[in-house]
Amino acid sequence: MLTILFDGIAYGMLLFVIACGLAVTLGLMNFVNLAHGAFAMLGGYCAWLLVNFYGVPFFASLPIAFMFAAMIGLVAERTLYVHFYNRSHFEQVLFTIGLVFMTAAVVDYFMGSQQRFINLPSYLQGRFDFFGVGIGKYRLLIILICALIVIVLQVILGYTRFGSRLRAAVDDQRVASGLGINVNWIFALTFAFGCGLAGLGGALGAEILSLEPHFPLKYMIYFLIVVSVGGTSSITGPFLASLLLGIGDVAGKYYAPRFGGFVIYTIMIVVLVLRPQGLFARGTAK
């Protein structure tokens, strides 16, 4: 029982690390980036190549995966995404779904279509008992890293100059740029950082989320659930939403494997219909 809770938290944390970049993109530039999962997948494959073929230690591969996804994100943002900022959500969706299909085919071409596993160091495998609760070492690591990331994110957002500029830009883009904040620059950086986090999440989660070319499509709906249920006005909203989703999904698959997906999608629809701004959003209408 508690093991399920623990696995669910690890799963939810992963979802959050991957999806929080999406929340910022959506909240800041009102941009629907369905291709966000593609950056997570790229990070995952990057780590897989490094660890399995070049003998890079697992812990060293994580920051490289982060940088790799962030660089690609930055390039994609400057060359492709900028053309779509003032378009409708619908056109953004078409564009980003197209990107997802293209990356899936390219990854399939270069990496093969089977599922990939990163060779974990032996001290991360297995599980130990903690007061009768079976705890997977690797999942514990995920929780620790993700918790660290959450804290760092909160500190950056809440206590740094960049964070307050970012929050200002999210709250009101026009006024923020009127005050001399370079919104475009902030957005490019944040976008790249979000992609980097997604890449890190993809590398960390290769074990749990199954790394294969259709990864972005498979988890697209999960990331969207996190963002739309959590709202985009804060970090805590998506965080709580991903924890709920993670625990709900793991518990659902365990206790009622036949209805797991059904329940989650139904809850998503109900939340969206009742609270289009998100479950944890502040009451402001944008």
């Binding site: 197209g98 399939d108 279509s113 499509l217 969207l224 997906g261 059904f262 998503m268 289009p276």
Partner: protein
């Protein structure tokens, strides 16, 4: 007196708008001729006609009412399952099956339309994806009824109206599908050129202004969503009647994405976009897919990105128009 005049003027204008262009006659005559002239392509043409009907139904939503749906396969699949189950349990007469499937899918559309009324494009996209996923899960779980992942087989297909056999006769099947497509297309054209259709475009253009000139936005959207769902259900029933098995692929995300892509390729908001798009899509899929079936996905994605970048609502035609314009400018230079 003057108000009567203006009413007369408006109805004359509507009539002018809905008059058929000569190209449309050419198109449908060519389509009818293809029944006799292209005997080896009947299977492909049948697919095109069915997808075209599905895309036309999506065009009613997207092109006229401005409702973005990424889960339209929910109604397509529901219609297909209803038609198959109806044929197995009651009668295998196809037209009755179409009517039943259309009504059932329309009812589902009526109920679920209440969910898509609110919210922005993004909320609607999410909710429609969600509806399709829930339908998929239901079809998957109720395997005692739907066959689950194995699919539903053994559906009887009697002659149409008792005298026109279509079962495993490609030519007749195509003729049957084409007649259904034409009939429903004709109705759709009347719908979009009616005052109702214009009110939909008003809502799409600006919901706030539309409601302030007295259009009941929600009722109109519910109505068009129901009609579009019924059309999709009929398209699904047609596919069920012309292929031996109804499976979960009828209802999966790929189908919703494909139909949207077809419509986008052909262009939205003039009904023929769905037909043109499905023809281009399936012919391209056949020719590219034969060479590299695995990487067909890459070209779908590429097409989406290019269209999203350059072509807003006329699909391939806006790209052609752009090229022609660019060439024209170059020639015009001294």
């Amino acid at each position: 007196m003057s108000s009567e005049d203006s009413v007369r003027e408006a109805s004359a204008a509507l009539k002018r708008k809905r008059a058929w262009h000569w190209l449309e006659y050419v198109f449908w005559i060519a389509a009818a001729a293809s029944v006799f002239l292209l005997p080896s392509q009947h299977a492909l043409l049948t697919q095109i006609a069915i997808w075209a009907l599905f895309a036309v139904s999506l065009d009613l939503l997207l092109g006229y009412a401005g409702i973005v749906s990424l889960g339209h396969a929910a109604y397509f699949g529901f219609g297909a399952y209803v038609a198959a189950l109806f044929a197995i349990n009651f009668t295998g007469e196809p037209v009755t099956g179409l009517v039943v499937a259309g009504v059932a899918a329309g009812l589902l559309g009526l109920i679920t339309s209440l969910l898509v009324l609110r919210g922005t494009d993004l909320t609607r996209i999410m909710v429609t994806i969600g509806i399709a996923l829930v339908m998929y899960e239901i079809a998957n779980q109720m395997s005692w009824l739907t066959g689950g992942a194995d699919g539903l087989t053994g559906m009887p297909v009697d002659p149409v109206l008792g005298f026109f056999p279509i079962y495993f006769i490609p030519k007749n099947a195509y003729a049957y599908v084409l007649v259904v497509l034409f009939a429903l297309f004709f109705v759709a054209k009347r719908i979009v050129h009616s005052p109702f259709g214009y009110s939909l475009r008003a809502i799409k253009g600006n919901p706030l202004r539309a409601s302030s000139i007295g259009i009941p936005n929600n009722l109109r959207l519910i109505a068009v969503y129901t009609v579009a769902a019924a059309y999709a259900g009929i398209a699904g029933a047609l596919l069920a009647q012309t292929t031996p098995v109804v499976s979960l692929t009828y209802i999966d995300f790929q189908r919703s994405a494909d139909v949207l892509l077809m419509l986008i390729i052909g262009g939205t908001g003039y009904l023929y976009g769905g037909i043109v798009g499905s023809a281009l899509f399936l012919i391209a899929q056949k020719s590219i897919g034969n060479v590299t079936p695995q990487y067909w996905e890459f070209w779908i994605g590429f097409a989406l990105v290019v269209i999203a970048l350059f072509a807003r609502d006329r699909g391939v035609f806006s790209i052609i128009e752009r090229i022609v314009n660019a060439l024209g400018k170059r020639n015009a230079k001294p």
